[in-house]
Symmetry: C3
Subunit: 331 residues, 3 copies
């Protein structure tokens, strides 16, 4: 696997200072790159690694031109990280092995499902009755798309994904549960990526909706009738309960939980492991997570926490008991 620097800038642009004929055999992190590798400097804080790097060439921002030139060959481009992303795509496309069959013979596809001509369905996938798979969408191995669910164009579904299992709908009756049949489906837009073993449930009456450009990591649970806005991204192990409505351009950190029927405005960012218990209508970063500590310290603080409300009451009593006139440091 190799590309010349000249081929790279011809395909991706950027201002090359160095030998167009230089052969690049791999992409590598700055610190680990050898003389056959192309690396990138995403942030000025890694500038020390730049000087020390043995890379054949480094992708840098224009502001880093001088430091890069002092080291050797470089490509200057306004957004090195974005350039690197495009470079990984170029690398993959140039080195992709011959593709297997468009629809793997082991996949189980209902005759009524509509699979676009350019879509690819991997080994041991299941596409049920009435489902639709858009152009250039790829289902890796062992993906289930249940009946009547719709996947847009250029989506990528990783192994083990389950689209359109029943939402968790139950009516209590006489101490037991009566199933509410889930009559909706799932509608997924274009350019959506869904990580391994992630589940998106079908709606109860209306559909669960994932808009264009949404990116979901692995082992995420999306409940019935959730609506996820454009370009929102969620890290692994997130859970979103039924009927939550999440805006566009949001990010949810790993293991975050969003309770049901809540609304998150566009541009809300939830930190990892935080639990959203109320609607958040203002963009911003939100967090709720017990800080980790050595176990002994945690035990003391956690035990005290269970009396926190009482501490406040005692503080109030003290405040009442403390005459203002004796507070020498108070302005």
């Amino acid at each position: 696997m190799a590309l010349r620097l000249g081929e790279i800038v011809a395909a991706l642009g950027g201002e090359l200072h160095g030998d167009e004929g230089q052969i690049i055999e791999r992409l590598a992190p700055l610190a680990a790159a050898g003389p056959e590798a192309l690396a990138f400097l995403s942030h000025p804080k890694y500038i020390k690694e730049l000087a020390a790097s043995g890379a054949a060439c480094v992708i840098v921002s224009p502001a880093m031109r001088e430091a890069a030139a002092a080291r050797g060959a470089f490509i200057a481009t306004p957004d090195p990280y974005l350039y690197f992303a495009h470079l990984t795509q170029l690398w993959r496309s140039r080195h992709a092995p011959p593709e297997g069959p468009r629809i793997h013979p082991s996949a189980v596809i209902d005759p009524s499902a509509q699979i676009a001509d350019t879509a690819r369905i991997g080994a041991l996938c299941v596409v049920e009755r009435g489902a639709r798979i858009g152009e250039h969408t790829v289902l890796k191995s062992r993906v289930t798309v249940s009946e009547d669910c719709v996947i847009g164009a250029r989506c990528l579904l990783h192994p083990g994904v389950v689209i359109g299992a029943d939402g968790f709908g139950l009516a209590p009756h006489a101490g037991a549960w009566v199933k509410i049949e889930q009559l909706g489906a799932v509608r997924i837009g274009d350019d959506v990526e869904i990580g391994a073993n992630t589940c998106i449930d079908r709606g109860a009456l209306d559909d669960t909706v994932i808009e264009d450009g949404v990116k979901l990591d692995n082992l995420i649970q999306i409940g019935h009738n959730v609506h996820v806005g454009r370009n929102t991204a969620m890290a692994g192990c997130v859970g979103v309960a039924g009927s939550a409505r999440i805006g566009a351009g949001c990010t949810l950190g790993g293991g975050a939980i969003v309770l049901g029927h809540l609304e998150l405005a566009d541009g809300v960012h939830v930190s990892a492991a935080s639990v959203v218990t109320r609607s958040i209508l203002k963009p911003g970063q939100y967090t709720g997570m017990f800080p980790i500590d050595d176990n002994a310290a945690w035990e003391k603080n956690a035990a005290t926490l269970r009396h926190l409300h009482g501490l406040r009451e005692r503080l109030r009593a003290l405040e009442r008991a403390t005459p203002a006139r004796s507070q020498p440091n108070t302005p």
Copy 2:
């Protein structure tokens, strides 16, 4: 897909005020229902939506009769939500497409497994040696039921479910781990629903047991030798560690964790994302979760939390230092 109002009340009961011949083409939420739709009012707080709804007919409780009559056709029934649940089942049964094969030819079923005559096994399922699947139970696609595991009657297992993988049993030895073979199995009662990609591990010596009527959402982990009592329900992403014993009629919110070897009495309700670290022997609602806040506020409070025990000590010192006689507001 359509049903007449007359057919619905003939099948499900309820007191119809309106035209028996009225054709219903879909079930819909109250706010979104058009003149072809049947909706329901589950709670008096939505009464404003009732008046504004364009539904052909609305299911209401007897107390709402007058308000419903002012709007148009209605069905009165003591528990509209339960009626709606039964209605979704009627709707599904009346509109179900012709069923595929009872056992999908792509499923891999050991000759010694016992599959009830009325059970259905979906595409690409695996049912191992000695497993038993009860009457009217349905395995959707890509479900694994491991050797000797037993599934009762009328159960529904969604795609990707794994029943009977090994429990996590390890004995430490010389810095490494020695596997404890898991010699038990999993026994699942009747009327159990298990969500997509949920896992229930086999027992170490005895069996892991899920009693009748339990409902598990997606991506739940049930460890070895856990016992889950009748009609308990768990939302997505719950984890229950080994040998926990959970009573009947409990609910666990999404992302809740139950540590190993604990006992939860009947009727214990654990809030989402809460961690059960001790047995809970009294019914009730239990919660433990850091409240979410904007990140800056969280940072301040979390940093202070790490000194909470010290704050209590300081408060105590102040209380000792503050003469009771100077507390004017104290009774």
Copy 3:
């Protein structure tokens, strides 16, 4: 299924006091063991159960010899729990049914994949191009090993495992996300066990690495370029974000989260449901988890927690206001 006590000590050692010809029909927990069962006493605190046990024979430590002899037959061995682990392995090996085909005909294996002669590949597995599976490794049903990923010897991968799905790599651009192709793979050492539906993502440039002897429970997410050291064990539902480096001999409790790019030293133990937000360079037990309480108490304390920083400020003000001379109990 049966073994004589004599066969057991011949295979596993230990000092038998009792009849070598005694037939053992099952292994059982101490409290539940009947006259056909062999049980073990792992900890002196269960000594009451020892006296009451109806087991045919009990495995005990030498210190328990006297108490065990008072009851009946026993096997003395320095580490009864370890002995029990080996016994479960003996039991399984003696009672294993005839094995099915080494590579199940329903598995989809790329011709370029290298499967060791003694490896076993279960039903409906997928092993992609260039992947390698080591000697005596077992893939249970429905496991995916993606292209170029390497699994060592004597590993056990449970149903639904996904090795080598794409890491979650995205560059932001103009409000959307540009995919970073994941060009690395996954390298898994020897003697690794991976639980049902667990996912280990492939690296972005370098490989994700799981060292020898690592044990992962079910539904765990391991991000790209994570490095997990020898003999580290993780309980169910753990999430480890990209590029985290976890040492050897660590344990992570169920539902714990480790954020990206962090380092955990050897011998770090993280309690269940705790979130690691900073590198931990010192061995020890670490915890961060809101203590569970009845809901009403939690509500009060959680509400107060949101003002904790302010409470500290008020406490400081009081401390300033309280003259040291009036503190009668201060030394």
